[in-house]
């Protein structure tokens, strides 16, 4: 056995402690067992106050050194990621996602929020002007090129009657309208609703506003999401099946034209996509080559192998529009539930 340095490691998506500088309210997410204990809540209150004081001190220091003192900035909920928010249609995409219309999404959001005790109404929100980053091109991105900025007027889709809480839903239409100065030509259209949601959220966080904002997005549900829910797939399991790789394999199947077009799996793309694509292609090769080359394949039990086959080419991968629509709505509901939970943790509702 030799030491083997790791060449390239994706930075994990959970944040460092530095996030508390921007979102001290994170510490208000309290375990249920602490909610019942007054002494603990007192101690926690001190911790949150210290975190908030640190945040305010940083802002005050920024003001003292001559930078513009920020006025009251809008409170913006984190993006609650349920659904990849990335979907392609056209050309040889063989298993396209299903998208929600604005009306469908509004209906889901209103219903789910109502169930959680929050009444949202279409048309009650006020437009707000924000500075946002343009959407960078997906392929051929020049990492050294600064991202252009644009000023847009954003009108959230839903709001409470008093306008204090406003919710935006990023649809595929919103995606196509988002500022982007670089336009690529392709027979495939890729919608990056999650990416736009992040840009919108970032822009809103700098707005001078007293409102509280939530940004939701079209999950772009595809058969990978369906398979994950159908087979109860989440992370890895005791059989050693790395389901994130299997899900990547489904993506790789749909994006198989990349290989046909001569692109390598090292090509640019959304963060992490290159690595997961490479892993997924390697996994497919492992599986398709068969026993001699498929070490991982041999280690799996029959049950695990059956599940993998289902996902890659069998029942789990058969395109079903109704199931996809249902999945998309459920993923959006999960986003709403998390948003309302955040509002409650923040003490806003």
């Amino acid at each position: 056995m030799d030491t083997r340095p790791v060449h390239g490691y994706r930075s994990p998506s959970y944040p460092t402690q530095g996030i508390l500088a921007e979102h001290p309210e994170l510490l208000r997410l309290v375990p249920e067992r602490w909610r019942r204990n007054r002494l603990v809540l007192t101690g926690l209150g001190i911790a949150c106050s210290l975190a908030l004081a640190g945040c305010r001190m940083q802002r005050a220091e920024a003001a003292e050194d001559g930078t513009k003192t920020p006025a009251m900035k809008a409170a913006v909920a984190p993006i609650f990621e349920h659904g990849g928010g990335l979907g392609s249609v056209g050309c040889v995409v063989i298993s396209p996602p299903v998208f929600l219309t604005e009306e469908e999404a509004r209906a889901v959001i209103v219903e789910e929020a109502q169930a959680a005790g929050l009444a949202l109404t279409p048309g009650a929100a006020r437009p707000v002007r924000i500075e946002v980053s343009e959407l960078p091109p997906w392929f051929g991105e020049d990492p050294g090129r600064p991202t252009p900025r644009a000023s847009i007027q954003l009108t959230p889709d839903l709001a409470t009657a008093d306008g204090g809480i406003e919710v935006s839903f990023v649809s595929t239409d919103d995606y196509t309208e988002w500022p982007a100065s670089q336009v690529g030509a392709s027979s495939v259209t890729t919608y990056r609703t999650l990416e736009v949601a992040r840009l919108a959220s970032e822009g809103l966080s700098q707005a001078e506003s007293k409102e509280v904002y939530g940004v939701l997005y079209d999950p772009c549900a595809d058969m990978a999401d369906v398979a994950a829910r159908q087979y109860g797939i989440d992370g890895t399991d005791a059989e050693g099946v790395d389901w994130s790789v299997v899900m990547g394999a489904l993506d790789a199947e749909r994006l198989g034209f990349l290989r046909e077009m001569g692109r390598t799996a090292d090509g640019p793309g959304p963060q992490g996509h290159s690595q997961s694509c490479r892993d997924a292609l390697a996994f497919i090769d492992d599986v398709k080559v068969g026993a001699p080359g498929g070490q991982r394949w041999r280690q799996l039990s029959k049950d695990a192998r059956d599940r993998v086959i289902d996902c890659l080419g069998g029942r789990g991968a058969r395109w079903d529009g109704d199931v996809l629509k249902q999945t998309a709505e459920e993923l959006l509901r999960e986003q709403v539930r998390d948003f309302v939970a955040w509002l409650k943790a923040e003490g806003i509702v």
Binding site: D2, Y9, P15, L29, G43, T236, G240, A341, W342
Partner: protein, 353 residues
């Protein structure tokens, strides 16, 4: 070891603490089996406490034991009040009795059954130290769950890096860590409070960048080991090896030797310079490297394999829990006051040390 040697060593440590402005000094008893000299432990604690009165320095004490000599009398003795007791236990019978055998080759699993209850009754926060070997790795997850089920909430788990690890054993280790990730996630979502060192350290190394380096002992800089004859070493792993002596209780610390070893250990290893995870890896630990390779300069391939195995599993776990905004996960890892708040909760519920 004699009480005089202990007194001299404590004197040297106290001088170091005073020069650094430290107000707390830890005394750790290790072996062999330290409870073979319970009398000496008690005398040492009495002596230190006597020194501590009015000196501005408080002493805290810890002992790691195999538990075979641990009894009610020792734990309830007023002189051992505050002694932090860690139990070495390797988990389920098949794992524990594989290596921890006494005369006649019988394992100690059965004998420790009542000891576990006794220890946790007196010391509810007592940690358990579990070592996994290539021969017991298939029982790793079961062993952790067993010890957790027995009531331990601080599970300090490590490998025997000097063992005969091969690719098959490392694959099994990966499988076991994946099972443990599921257990960790399940218990966290139940809002259980516990510490499972392999995952806590790795998740912490991302949440607090640099902590992997700063939290280590730094080879003799923050912790000195004293051999039975009074010779100083940078770590327990080196006791008895004169090449790593850094002083003596009677003469003090050999600062030149200590600095030389520290610099030698702190230098980045050539094999690791280009590694993408080196800042979050335990390859800095000269003691572990020496245990496996015989040299503090040479990174153990087993250590390397372990770090490459556990890190992505811990990170995927952290991602899942953060994505869910799991409150217990966030409090444990992002709230610096979590230990204090947790203690407040336990005290208010009537649980005490």
């Amino acid at each position: 070891m004699t009480l005089d040697t202990i007194k001299q060593a404590v004197g040297v440590a106290r001088g170091q603490a005073e020069s650094r402005g430290q107000r707390s000094l830890g005394v750790i008893f290790f072996g062999g089996e330290p409870l073979l000299r319970k009398d000496l432990i008690i005398e040492a604690m009495r002596y230190c406490r006597g020194l501590g009165n009015g000196s501005g320095i408080s002493y805290h004490f810890k002992v790691t034991t195999n538990g075979l000599l641990l009894g009610e009398a020792f734990l309830s003795d007023p002189d051992t009040d505050g002694l932090f007791v860690a139990l070495s236990h390797d988990g389920v019978r098949e794992a524990h009795d594989r290596h921890r055998v006494g005369p006649g080759e019988s394992g100690s699993f059965d004998r420790l059954d009542a000891t576990i209850d006794l220890l946790l009754r007196h010391r509810p926060y007592a940690p358990v130290m579990l070592v996994t070997t290539p021969e017991t790795v298939e029982h790793y997850a079961d062993s952790v769950e067993f010890l957790y089920g027995r009531g331990f909430r601080y599970l300090i788990c490590s490998l025997n890096y000097a063992g005969a690890w091969d690719e098959r054993a490392i694959r099994e280790l990966r499988r076991q860590y994946r099972r443990l990730a599921q257990w960790y996630e399940r218990e966290t979502r139940r809002e259980a409070k516990f510490y499972f060192s392999p995952f806590e350290v790795k998740i912490g190394s991302h949440i607090r960048p640099g902590s992997c380096k700063s939290d280590r002992c730094e080879l003799g800089q923050r912790q000195i080991s004293v051999g039975p004859d009074g010779t100083f070493y940078p770590c327990v792993q080196f006791v008895g090896d004169p090449d790593y002596a850094i002083g003596h209780a009677s003469t003090g610390i050999d600062e030149e030797a200590r600095a030389r070893l520290y610099i030698q250990n702190a230098a980045e290893k050539e094999t690791c310079a280009a590694c993408a995870i080196r800042e979050r890896c335990n390859h800095y630990c000269g003691c572990l490297n020496r245990q496996a390779t015989g040299s503090i300069d040479t990174v153990s391939p087993v250590l390397c394999a372990h770090e490459r195995t556990v890190l992505p599993i811990a990170d995927r776990l952290g991602e899942r829990l953060f994505k869910r905004r799991d409150a217990m996960f966030i409090q444990k890892h992002y709230n610096d006051l979590f230990p204090l708040i947790s203690l407040m909760e336990d005290r208010s519920a009537g649980r005490s040390q």
